[in-house]
């Protein structure tokens, strides 16, 4: 499988601080690739370099087979993290403007607009002025603007943030449809559950350096099966002062425990303290792995 994006030894500094440090990365074509990492870790800088908005101080970036990332720009759809729309424009004019900047013809843009507006459950609104739209509607229009020219690569920075579950579901389906059409999708997110469910591969950046890169399975197996999900009659109180408990993530009804020792021995000790209703030895969640890496 060829790569839609390749980064080799990319470094970017701002005022002496390395925002991205010697980063190498390959995004296979046709995949959904999740970028995760704490705030300020270098996600947005990396995405902006891929978009040729920022230039790397060192290293090489190849996008859709071209080292001149500007040349590939027309085939890349981009939804930045902080986004806005022209309030006084109609949706139709906005989509035509953004689509033409990507090199699409007006007839193709109009056809795509009709399709995606229906897909986003916003039919018949093309002649509405942007300022009359709700926040959720605006976010969906921003997504449509990013895909209006049918890009081969779609880069989405926090696409689901701020959306209610219904709209998030609509947007998720649209992202999956873009992948089905053959597009490569790269998106950054703070929602680990979304990354787990949607991404073929996950990449984590921390303090400018790559700390995770692979499929969810490979990442989880790297961190072993040291996690237990359990439910007892006493809740988290049953776990107090137990010697083989390294960390507890208390969800109220359920506790996720990272163990230092043997799970069977731990179960025996726990059963002596409380009634155990549920006990599942599992691999750590992406959330847990994220916290292990990023916790100060």
């Amino acid at each position: 499988m060829s790569n839609a994006i390749s980064l080799t030894g990319v470094t970017k500094q701002f005022n002496g601080t390395r925002a991205v440090d010697d980063l190498s990365l390959s995004v296979p074509a046709g995949s959904i690739y999740g970028f995760i990492g704490p705030n300020g870790s270098g996600k947005t800088t990396t995405l902006r370099m891929i978009m040729h908005i920022l230039l790397p101080d060192r290293g090489e970036i190849e996008v859709l087979g071209s080292r001149d990332t500007a040349a590939a720009r027309d085939r890349v759809g981009y939804l930045p993290e902080e986004r806005g729309l022209y309030k006084k424009m109609t949706i139709r004019r906005l989509l035509r403007y953004y689509g033409r900047l990507k090199g699409a013809s007006i007839s193709d843009i109009d056809a795509a607009s009709d399709y995606w507006m229906g897909r986003m459950e916003l039919p018949g609104l093309l002649d509405r002025q942007i300022e009359t739209l709700s926040k959720g509607m605006s976010q969906k229009i921003q997504f449509v603007a990013a895909i209006i020219a049918n890009p081969a690569l779609l880069i989405l920075n926090e696409p689901f943030s701020g959306l209610d579950p219904v709209n998030a579901h609509v947007l998720k389906d649209a992202v999956l449809e873009m992948r089905q059409r053959g597009a490569t999708v790269v998106f950054s997110t703070h929602d680990m559950a979304t990354a787990e469910r949607m991404c073929d591969r996950i990449f984590m950046i921390f303090r400018g350096r790559k700390v995770l890169d692979g499929t969810l399975e490979s990442i989880q197996s790297e961190y072993g099966a040291d996690t237990v999900r359990l439910r007892t009659s006493q809740g988290a109180a049953a776990l107090v002062d137990m010697p083989d408990v390294e960390a507890v993530n208390d969800f109220g009804q359920l506790q996720e425990v990272r163990l230092k020792g043997d799970p069977q021995a731990f179960l025996a000790r726990l059963a002596a303290r409380a009634s155990v209703y549920h006990f599942e030895v599992t691999r750590p969640s992406l959330q847990d792995i994220f916290v292990r890496i990023a916790k100060p």
Binding site: R48, M51, I53, L54, A70, R73, D74, V76, Y78, L79, P80, E82, R83, G84, L85, Y86, K87, K88, M89, R93, Y97, Y98, R100, L101, K102, Q142, A145, A146
Partner: protein, 436 residues
């Protein structure tokens, strides 16, 4: 370039559809037209309030004939005095006060108090020595309305006319004869003779002030208004995109330089359309009022278009760079001031150029790239116009300046556009420009 044109088209449509454009298009000519009509309608009837003043005549012979002339003036009867013009506004009513035998200062104080109590508007003293032609004495006018000059001007003309009559009478000279003998011939200001295409000699035309000065000043004003309204609109457009986070979406599709060029082209196109409408309207008006439309030659229009385009690129780039470097409109206002001054200073010096369009100062100022769109254009409009080499030099200097400013603004635009949270300092902008 294709993408820059798409941005330009969008900018053009947005600007032309904006309220500011429509207001500028409709409201400004309406306001100007109404003002002109109001001035014309009210110029002879602005002030009809009577002004009563005291005259203290130390000659003993001026007050009586002066009052007779004032009566004629107030009744609207033409005066025999050739220096006294017909009445246009308020009536001037004299009250004669006989000079006191005591201290004249007491009388002056008394009359001053009457002015303060508004019994009188002013008082005037005619000194005894005034009848002596060798005397250098003055008529003294006292008032607490220093800005009202209609009465002192009228008094100067009228009292002097009476005094001259008295001087001629005492010298036993017939004043009417002197007036006839000393009558000056007027001078007609004419252009030059020329030979027409048909071989016939065409007589010189009379110089018309409206044609000679009115058209150049109007062209200068149009240039100034266009730049002052168009360039800041570019700044607003950039700040709006930056504040509403549209910029990053756009530079995901176009390079910052293409985006900036698109904005400049769109802004320039909008200004040219606006100017075209103003010029067309203006030509109809000047043709209607005086038949001067022929004074606006195609060559003047061509130079106007060239200088306007270059000026919009220079000033537009500066405003675009400021917009990209600032975080909000308030910060941009401070940074705009020096650029605004660059636009205003040439207009302040336009009087010098009007008086001596071929003088050294006018020549030097009109070659300065930020002043050339105003002052060289003004010189082109004033006959006989500057030498062609000066026009060419100014266009070359302006073109080089425009390229340099667009290049520097592009570098500021690229960096500033993504900077959020604080406005850049001048030092930071210089650093962005000089960075590789």
């Amino acid at each position: 370039m294709r993408k820059a044109l798409i941005v330009a088209q969008s900018e053009f449509v947005t600007l032309v559809k904006s309220k500011a454009f429509l207001v500028g298009l409709i409201l400004m000519p309406v306001v100007m037209g109404t003002s002109i009509m109001l001035v014309r309608a009210t110029k002879d009837a602005t002030d009809m309030k009577d002004r009563t003043f005291a005259i203290v005549d130390y000659t003993g012979v001026v007050a009586e004939p002066f009052k007779a002339v004032a009566n004629l003036y107030n009744s609207g009867t033409p005066s025999a005095m050739d220096t006294v013009l017909p009445r246009k506004g308020a009536r001037f009513i004299p009250v004669e006060i006989k000079p006191s035998e005591g201290n004249p200062e007491e009388l002056r104080l008394d009359l001053s108090n009457r002015v303060r109590k508004q019994e009188l508007f002013a008082f005037v003293e005619v000194p005894a020595e005034i009848l002596d032609p060798a005397s250098t004495t003055s008529i003294r006018y006292y008032s607490d309305h220093p800005s009202y000059n209609a009465l002192p001007q009228w008094l100067r003309a009228t009292i002097n006319a009476v005094v001259l009559n008295e001087r001629f009478r005492r010298a036993s000279i017939d004043r009417a004869l002197v007036v006839r003998l000393t009558k000056q011939a007027p001078i007609d200001e004419l252009g030059l003779f020329e030979r027409g295409a048909d071989g016939e000699i065409k007589a010189a035309e009379e110089v018309n002030a409206a044609r000679a000065y009115g058209i150049p000043v109007a062209v200068l004003a149009l240039m100034y208004i266009t730049i002052m309204t168009s360039a800041p609109q570019l700044l607003n457009s950039v700040i709006e995109e930056k504040m509403s986070r549209i910029s990053e979406v756009l530079i995901g599709s176009v390079t910052p330089f293409e985006l900036m060029m698109g904005k400049l082209l769109g802004g320039a196109a909008t200004s040219i359309v606006l100017c075209g409408i103003y010029i067309a309207g203006g030509l109809i008006v000047v043709q209607y009022w005086g038949g001067y439309a022929s004074a606006v030659t195609p060559s003047i229009l061509g130079w106007f278009l060239l200088y306007l385009t270059l000026a919009l690129f220079i000033f537009g780039s500066l405003f675009v760079a400021i917009g990209a470097a600032c975080n909000d409109l308030k910060d941009s206002q401070n940074m705009m001031t020096p650029v605004m001054l660059l636009v205003m200073i040439p207009v302040f010096t336009a009087g010098t150029v009007l008086r001596a369009p071929d003088g050294t100062l006018a020549t030097v100022l009109s070659l300065v790239p930020t002043a050339a769109p105003f002052l060289m254009l003004l010189r082109i409009c004033l006959q006989p116009g500057p030498p062609m080499w000066q026009i060419v030099v100014s266009v070359v200097i302006m073109t080089c300046t425009a390229l340099a400013v667009v290049w520097a603004a592009g570098k500021i635009f690229r960096t500033g556009l993504l900077m959020q949270g604080k406005s850049a300092t001048l030092g930071e902008m210089v650093k962005w420009v000089t960075a590789k």
